[in-house]
């Protein structure tokens, strides 16, 4: 219907990155990208109606902390999941801390297109502003007592500095065994590790296998 007023050039010549799932564009989103009012990450994973497999880190089990205990998010194809701001969550063997984001996180796994092996695991959060940010937290693995929390004001400090904050959080927690000793139940918790496997020390790689 709009043929008369439509532009005669393909959209890619007018709008940059108009399809984030395009093969040439999706690679940018393997790291988080701030796009307009959102921060977006897109990971290529094996996505079925039953489960999700990370090609590097294995079975993808994302866990949320609730008043009723820990529950698995059970991500799978065509199931959108939203973790509201303030809810601690983590992915086993993927990042060795609990992420507590002021912003909601929206997940949408799309199965592989015909002829492809990997689907698209889409993660979106709205861009934090001013004091809004996120925490890298540690809870006792036995009794869920909060042991350590490192808060980063992402809105004020900028998203690009987040990974530096992650390293500080992990480094601080790992450097002091007292922080890992639960004052409530006496359990000695394992050390933490970053999201990026490349940063693992041998001890952190062992911790990644553990939890």
């Amino acid at each position: 219907m709009f043929a008369v007023v439509g532009v005669d050039r393909p959209i890619e010549q007018v709008v940059n990155d108009w399809d984030f799932l395009d093969e040439k564009i999706v690679k940018k989103f393997t790291t988080w990208q701030e796009v307009g009012g959102n921060i977006i990450g897109i990971r290529r994973r094996e996505i079925t109606l039953k489960e999700i497999i990370d090609p590097k880190k294995g079975k993808f089990n994302s866990v949320t902390m609730t008043p009723d205990g820990l529950i698995s998010k059970n991500h799978k194809a065509l199931k959108m999941h939203i973790t509201p701001g303030g809810v601690p969550h983590r992915v086993e063997h993927s990042f060795g801390f609990w992420h507590v984001n002021d912003m909601d996180e929206l997940y949408l796994p799309i199965p592989a297109a015909p002829g492809e092996v990997h689907g698209h695991f889409i993660v979106v959060m709205q861009t934090p502003t001013e004091k809004e940010g996120e925490s890298f937290a540690q809870y006792c693995q036995v009794c869920l007592t909060l042991l350590h929390e490192h808060y980063f004001a992402t809105g004020r400090e900028g998203f690009t500095n987040l990974w530096h904050a992650e390293r500080i959080a992990i480094g601080t927690y790992n450097s002091d065994p007292k922080l890992r000793h639960c004052p409530e139940c006496g359990h000695d918790n394992p050390i933490a590790y970053c999201a990026n496997m490349v940063k693992d020390t041998p001890e952190q790689a062992e911790a990644r296998r553990l939890w």
Binding site: G6, V7, W18, G37, M65, M80, L108, H120, I122, V124
Partner: protein, 189 residues
């Protein structure tokens, strides 16, 4: 009075009733249609031009805040949101799964625009604003349907002041609520 604590929301694509949901700080819509049905294609206005977003097998498209857009056969007007809209399309077997979501956290979120532009010369035929932050999402769609019906009620309201072309019929969100003129509009654009 206590506020219920909800640690997680799950939405199964294609299993809902096709209505919008307000989920924490997102507005979410999704639905599933047979691949044989006319595609729900996005068209948007940039610098006065109309751009068509191709119906890729996998598509994730961002409509920036402040950009008027229309999804063919889904709603019969041009909508402008105060924060970015994300449109996702995925063909799976014999179906197409569509997802649209809008974050409500952005400082600009709240004022929505409904408009009709002449399909022949691109001039604005009619435009209205709605305070979504104040009145809510359900009221927005009620308002949109009422405005579509007002637009349809008289040929004069649909006539382009620039070129005299008569705009096709408008329609609201829910196909089951369509009157004959709205059904005709939904089929056409």
């Amino acid at each position: 009075m206590t506020t219920p604590y909800t640690p997680a929301y799950d939405i199964y694509l294609g299993e809902g009733d096709g209505s919008w949901q307000e989920v924490s700080r997102y507005q979410v819509w999704n639905n599933r249609y047979p691949l044989s049905e006319p595609p729900l294609s996005v068209v948007e206005r940039r610098d006065g031009n109309v751009l068509r977003v191709p119906d890729n097998v996998r598509l994730m498209h961002r409509i920036p805040a402040g950009t008027p857009y229309h999804v063919e056969h889904l709603f019969g007007f041009w909508r402008t949101t105060g924060s970015d809209t994300i449109f996702i399309r995925a063909e799976v077997e014999d179906n197409v799964y569509y997802t649209i979501f809008v974050g409500t956290h952005a400082t600009g979120f709240g004022i929505e625009t409904l408009a009709w532009y002449c399909p022949r010369c691109a001039a604005e035929v009619r435009a209205l604003t709605f305070d979504l932050k104040r009145f809510g999402l359900q009221q927005f769609w009620t308002f949109a349907l009422a405005q579509a019906r007002e637009f349809n009620a008289s040929p004069a309201a649909r006539t382009c002041g620039g070129c005299g072309h008569i705009h096709p019929y408008a329609y609201g969100w829910e196909p089951q609520a369509d009157q004959p003129t709205e059904r005709e509009g939904r089929t056409l654009w």
